[in-house]
Amino acid sequence: MTSPILRIENLSKKYGQREVLKGVSLEVEKGDLKILIGPSGAGKSTFLHCINFLVKPDEGHVWLDNEEIHPARKRELYAYRQKVGMIFQDFNLFDHLTAFENVRIGLVKVKGIGKDAAGARAAQELERVGLKEHMQKYPSQLSGGQKQRVSIARALAMDPEVMLLDEPTSALDPELIGEVHAVIRDLGKSGMTMIMATHQIGFASSLASEIIFMEDGRILEQGTPSKIFNDPDNSRTREFCSKITDLYGER
């Protein structure tokens, strides 16, 4: 039996009186692509942010490679975050740095790699996402799809073991979604372990090892794409899936 690379147990989060996450648990095997779906406000973003403690969960535990993470131990937390890449809906590239510098800065400032070696690695990652010619551009000079690919390169440069992607294409014009999906697909093929929230169920069903349906701070149902999309047990899952299929189409 293989042990999960990432184990999440009972994550809970309250904002004031409002329970946004109600004890969510998940096990992720190496190479898995888990897709989170669910209506807006279900807690998908909060869940992903709690996994790397960008949002501090009120309760719950996280293990990476069988080691429990103690977020209060700062050094442990920073080391853990290097191993868990995060992709945001609105990219969050560093606006004062070029694409190249965006990818290099983590290597230099966090990993302490020399500028030349870090630069070579940054160029390599940008080439991998097809942006070699745009290295010297600033975020404002890039399209949304290019920005998101830079942010993926920035995360990959840190050699993460797991990637968390929070609706990476939902801020993009429809014609730019494909280029980002292509990068994520390649990542999946190369064996990257990922948890990704998305509404793009066509993309999800073709790639996901498991679909996880969240609503109201809970996982209501999880299973293979064909199970969840064609024959879900839960009526809420069925309702959501038919709605989202109307909205985003089968692709």
Partner: protein, 223 residues
Amino acid sequence: MPESLVAVIDAFPYLLQGSLVTLAVVAGALSFGLLVGAPLAIGQVYGGALIRRSVGLYVWFFRGIPLLVFLFLFYFGLCTALGINLSAFTVAIIVLGLISSAYQSQIIRGAIQSLPEGQLKAARALGMSDIKAIVNIIIPQALRLSIPGFSNEYSILLKDSAVTYALGVAEIMARAHFVATRTYHHFPLYFAAGLIFMILTWLGVKVLRLLEDRVRIPGYSHN
């Protein structure tokens, strides 16, 4: 040539030397204010309740005390009481710098708070400590956005620096006064002094505008 014009022309090199002193005081105070103001701003945005409250108190204090009172308090009061021997020039820089640090902290705080929240999040997600994120990601952006505010602060400091004449700092105003009381050409001399101040304001704002252009990032709006 009218006698008064001759008096001004004779005194002009002497006044211009004073403008070097003025500029040194202003540059010193601006730098000192930045060095103190930036950490204050960081403390006010990211610090705990106690730090935030202390910075608020600091800002309230140094914005509230009149410059002349503070200069006298420091130079004649504090320095004498503590038996430290500082020149009027040094005291002028420290006092103007402390007051400026209160204003600059608020300029920088505003700039930090105008940055999208995602900048810090993305830095943390890479494994940066908060200090690294602030130094490498937040401050470089916030300082760029602060340049128009610094430009404003420069013109205010420049004008305020005339008050340090009361301590005997040999800046423009002190020199104009010195010559005027000896030659009785008050009007042309103070007029010349005012003119020099205006030219220095214009020059400094110009220099900061050039700096702003130099560090400008495409698509990053300052105005």
